[in-house]
């Protein structure tokens, strides 16, 4: 009765899965993409020549030939890549692409980024123990820009900030082209690009030119703890509070701004809009994750085990930063009377382990292996604090549209925070999770229009499913009304009532 074709089917979908189907014709690469790639290659070549040649002083022609061409080439490439296509979801081939599926290229890229971070963070220390001055040429390359903006030659930090901003902008173009059918993504990408370029690159540069304290205005305590740590601002992982307090009006403004953002703006904005106002609209780490990190967002682990690890880790870091900060202030107030000599090593360890290794090296270096939000999900104390606010004191939720979910899994797959969005959607429940950064990609990739990011009138009623008989149905599936209880006519009647 059953066809032989069916009975003889023996494919192991669990072990082998479904592989890359052959292509009839290679994807045509248009002239714009070719031009973009040519410019990228030329720029990269110029970069290698200038960077490796160890130029003593940068020049505008060298800067334009290298980073200028890389930027324009990258933007042109991503612009033309999707310009001719119908606006919509562009995820064809993601699960077959070596660099997006932890293949050899992904590992190579992860190693390169990681090595770059190590070289850059501990450049002076590593040079002191014999590493060749590999970054010198690159730093000199950006001299002209540094001189124009800040009135002094570039250093490794300026070079890093420059590269970071370029990555956000180039991959921001990619993001805009990829999601151009969705205005939420257009505006959000414009926002992260604006804050990175304006508040984390140009503004700090201008402050330096005006002989004011250098400060990134997109980071606050507890993510960037130094301005609120006591200290004079020199040395590794040093506190900057007193240094800023001595810097006149601008220093006081920065301190006031940091305190205001942390104490007042954060809770209010999170109540109104959820943690997304920061994590996927303003934050620099989020900005990079939402642009450069987008190709790898699907690599986040969706298991409940990962969720458990996430909650332990991120809240531990939050506790750690609170304790370290409190400890440093007690130490300062008591002049070490109770705390002994522990203050210095403590802040150095926190700075090294959390700020440098976790946020930097792992946070970005592991994009191609663990997805774009490793730091944001497992380590960021700001995200932890915002998450607690979002979970309990916010109007924000992702609404599920009645019974329309057909469990395809696009939402969960493309959730960079590893939230099993589908788990909620197929039960018809709203998604109210501490970790959700409100990037909106789940709603965009949903082929049935099931998800919507919303700020409700208040934080009430977020946990209820949104109408229709199916949500109730699925809810009951998970919460058996008569489980483990003796049955009887009355009990059955009650069940029937209860499931209506």
């Amino acid at each position: 009765m059953i066809e032989l074709r069916v009975l003889s089917y023996s494919h192991d979908e669990e072990r082998i899965g479904f592989t890359d189907p052959p292509r009839a014709t290679p994807r045509p690469i248009n002239i714009g993409e070719r031009a973009g790639m040519a410019m990228l290659a030329t720029g990269a070549f110029a970069f290698v020549i200038c960077g490796m040649a160890g130029v003593r002083r940068g020049s505008w022609p060298a800067l334009i030939a290298s980073f200028g061409l890389i930027t324009i080439g990258g933007c042109v490439y991503y612009w033309r890549r999707w310009a001719g296509s119908t606006p919509g979801i562009k995820h064809d081939g993601n699960t077959f692409n070596n660099v997006q599926t932890r293949g050899l290229w992904a590992w190579g890229l992860a190693i390169v980024i990681t090595l770059f971070y190590i070289a850059y963070y501990w450049y002076h220390e590593l040079k002191a123990i014999g590493m060749p001055p590999v970054l010198d040429g690159t730093i000199r390359l950006v001299d002209p820009l540094s001189l124009a903006l800040r009135g002094k030659p570039a250093d490794q930090w300026f070079m890093y900030s420059f590269l970071y901003t370029l990555a956000v902008l180039i991959f921001g173009v990619r993001m805009v082209m990829k999601y151009r059918h969705n205005r939420y993504h257009l505006i959000r990408t414009a926002s992260v690009s604006f804050f990175q370029l304006g508040f984390a690159f140009l503004l700090p540069g201008i402050l330096v030119a005006l002989h004011q304290p250098d400060h990134y205005f997109t980071y606050f305590w507890p993510l960037s703890p130094q301005p609120l740590w006591p200290g004079d601002g020199y040395g590794f992982g040093a506190g900057k509070f007193h240094a800023l307090a001595d810097k006149g009006v601008m220093g006081m403004f920065i301190l006031g701004f940091s305190a205001f953002m942390f104490l007042l703006a954060t809770p209010v904005l999170t109540y109104l809009f959820g943690k997304r106002w920061y994590c996927s609209w303003v934050c620099g780490c989020g900005g990079l994750a939402e642009t450069l990190g987008d190709p790898w967002r699907q690599l986040s682990d969706k298991s409940t085990t990962a969720w458990k690890i996430e909650r332990w880790m991120i809240h531990s870091v939050l506790v750690a930063i609170v304790l370290v900060t409190a400890f440093l202030w007690i130490d300062y107030a008591q002049s070490g009377a109770i705390t002994g000599t522990w203050a210095m090593p403590l802040r150095k360890v926190y700075y090294f382990v959390i700020v440098q290794v976790f946020a930097g090296v792992i946070g970005v270096g592991f994009y191609p292996l663990m997805g774009s939000r490793v730091w944001c999900r497992f380590g960021c104390p700001m995200a932890a604090a915002l998450g607690i606010l979002q979970r309990y004191f916010s109007r924000f939720r992702i609404t599920t549209n009645g019974g329309q979910c057909m469990s395809c899994g696009n939402c969960s797959t493309y959730c960079e925070m590893g939230i099993d969005v589908r788990g909620y959607a197929q039960r018809g429940e709203n998604i109210v999770r501490a970790s959700c950064v409100g990037c909106g990609v789940c709603a965009a990739v949903c082929p049935r229009g099931v998800l919507k990011l919303e700020n409700g009138a208040s934080s009430e009623g977020r946990y209820e499913g949104v109408g229709g008989p199916l949500p109730q149905l699925v809810h009951d599936l998970r919460n058996p009304p008569v489980a483990q209880q003796a049955e009887g006519p009355a009990r059955i009647a009650q069940t029937r009532e209860g499931t209506r």
Binding site: M1, I2, R5, V6, L7, Y9, H11, E13, E14, F18, P21, A24, T25, P26, R27, T86, G88, I89, D92, G93, N94, T95, H181, R183, Y184, L186, Q298, T304, N401, G402, G403, Q404, M406, S407, C408, G409, N410, S412, T413, G423, A443, P447, R448, G449, K452, V466, G467, G468, P469, L470, L473, D476, L477, P480, P481, V482, A483, Q484, I492, R496
Partner: protein, 426 residues
């Protein structure tokens, strides 16, 4: 201990198993499927092929759930139901005795007896077996013909197109899915299909599939006598209940397995749910045959309750469905016919870009009975409420903004829509 066996691990079978487990913690529950070890989302087949998701991503529950809920998963095909002995014969694993049985075997792709329909490289798209076959058939495929203008047809077209295969679609109707969609929606989808570069042949039927001499397809001939080269022929002309297993048994079947409103078959301890079930209702002439994900889920729940012995009844409720044609999302709620019935009024708004549209339908008394949206997302609960409460069309037009479910910052067209609709109702 009571043993409940469920044939099929699709949405109906799995929903029934979990509902039954919730109601009967001490029963033994087995789910039998030869297709896959675990339940996966069938509508997601296309995304596996196109590389949006891995197979593993399409499983709605973590693997550990089945052990946690003590639902035994049997990877085998049931080849025979021995109703008298309450026993299933399995292809590989001997026999399995049951006390209660649920048949949730889903559908089969239709084939209408075309010459050449059993050739290699001729296939439908329904399950993992088809997906596996398709991946193999892709080798040396440059051109394809898809027969049938429905949801699966356009999905298959999109899949093949994503791998650079040329697609010709043969559609019997005057426009894409015109037997379900009203003219404007139908035309909109047809336009998009053509825009994507597919060769859309309307009012054209398949006459014959030609053998290349090795038992594989190489071309099709249409009823107009045209010959179209195709190394792959997709037959996507709808599905029928998969009732192979109940033929020649005491279980009664019509088009599907015949069941009453509590999804019980004519045999005492056997139920059927989902695509394969045909529901006979008292005082309703037409039997109910529903073959979409949502109804499978709702029927699965009822079947689980019925098997547990709880008094229950499947109530179809207000119809809804949704789909995505290429990049165009579609939702429908209530009763929207392809052509207005007597006295019915269809109000239609279409955006100038030709990629968005909203249709409101009311009966002769001006009572709102259903709507379609194209490229716009509306809220299920709001639309359902309007239909349930029998709101007047004027009320609905006035309250359209409440229904919008598009992303934040999306452009809203409700005032434009309302103006257009008011003009049409005047």
């Amino acid at each position: 201990m009571c043993h409940a066996a469920i044939i099929g691990n699709g949405i109906a079978g799995i929903t029934a198993a979990r509902r039954l487990r919730a109601l009967r913690p001490d029963w033994r529950i087995s789910v039998i499927s030869g297709e896959s070890r675990y339940h996966y989302s069938r509508p997601a087949l296309m995304y596996i092929f196109m590389g949006h998701m891995r197979y593993a991503d399409t499983k709605p529950f973590e693997d550990r759930v089945w052990a946690d809920e003590r639902i035994e998963l049997v990877r085998d095909w049931v080849t025979e139901i021995d109703v008298a002995a309450s026993r299933l014969r399995l292809h590989a694993g001997g026999t399995l005795a049951y006390d209660k049985l649920l048949i949730a075997t889903g559908s089969q792709s239709n084939r209408f007896g075309w010459p050449g329909q059993d050739l290699r490289r001729v296939q439908g798209l329904y399950d993992l077996i088809d997906l596996h076959t398709l991946t193999e058939n892709m080798r040396d495929t440059r051109r394809s013909v898809i027969v049938g203008g429905g949801l699966i047809g356009v999905e298959l077209a999109e899949m093949l197109h994503s791998r650079g295969v040329h697609v010709t679609m043969l559609i019997r109707e005057t426009d894409y899915w015109r037997n379900v969609l009203p003219a404007e929606e139908s035309a909109m989808v047809s336009r998009l299909i053509r825009h994507e570069g597919f060769d859309l042949r309307l009012e054209t039927r398949l006459a014959e599939i030609l053998d290349d001499g090795t038992g594989a397809a190489w071309a099709v001939v249409t009823d107009r006598g045209e010959r179209i080269e195709a190394q792959l022929v997709g037959l996507t002309v709808g599905v029928s209940p998969n009732i192979d297993l109940v033929r020649d048994t005491a279980i009664k079947a019509g088009r599907g397995v015949l069941v009453d409103e509590s999804l019980r078959t004519n045999v005492d301890n056997i139920w059927a749910a989902g695509d394969c079930a045909e529901i006979v209702r008292p005082h309703v002439e037409r039997n109910l045959l529903q073959q979409v994900w949502y109804t499978g889920k709702a029927q699965g729940r009822v079947a689980g309750e019925a098997m547990a012995g709880v008094e229950t009844r499947y109530e179809p409720g207000i119809w809804y469905n949704s789909a995505k044609f290429l990049d165009l999302e579609y939702q429908t709620y209530g009763d929207v016919r392809p052509n207005p019935r007597d006295g019915e009024r269809h109000l239609w708004w279409e955006h100038a870009d030709g990629r968005k549209g909203v249709r409101l339908v009311c009966d002769s008394a001006g009572v709102f009975i259903g709507l379609n949206t194209m490229g716009v997302r509306y809220r299920h609960e709001v639309c359902e409420g309007w239909i349930r409460d029998r709101r007047s069309i004027d009320d609905v037009v006035a309250q359209l903004p409440q229904a919008n479910f598009d992303s934040e910052f999306s452009r809203r067209y409700e005032s434009e829509i309302a103006a257009t609709m008011r003009e049409q109702t005047r």
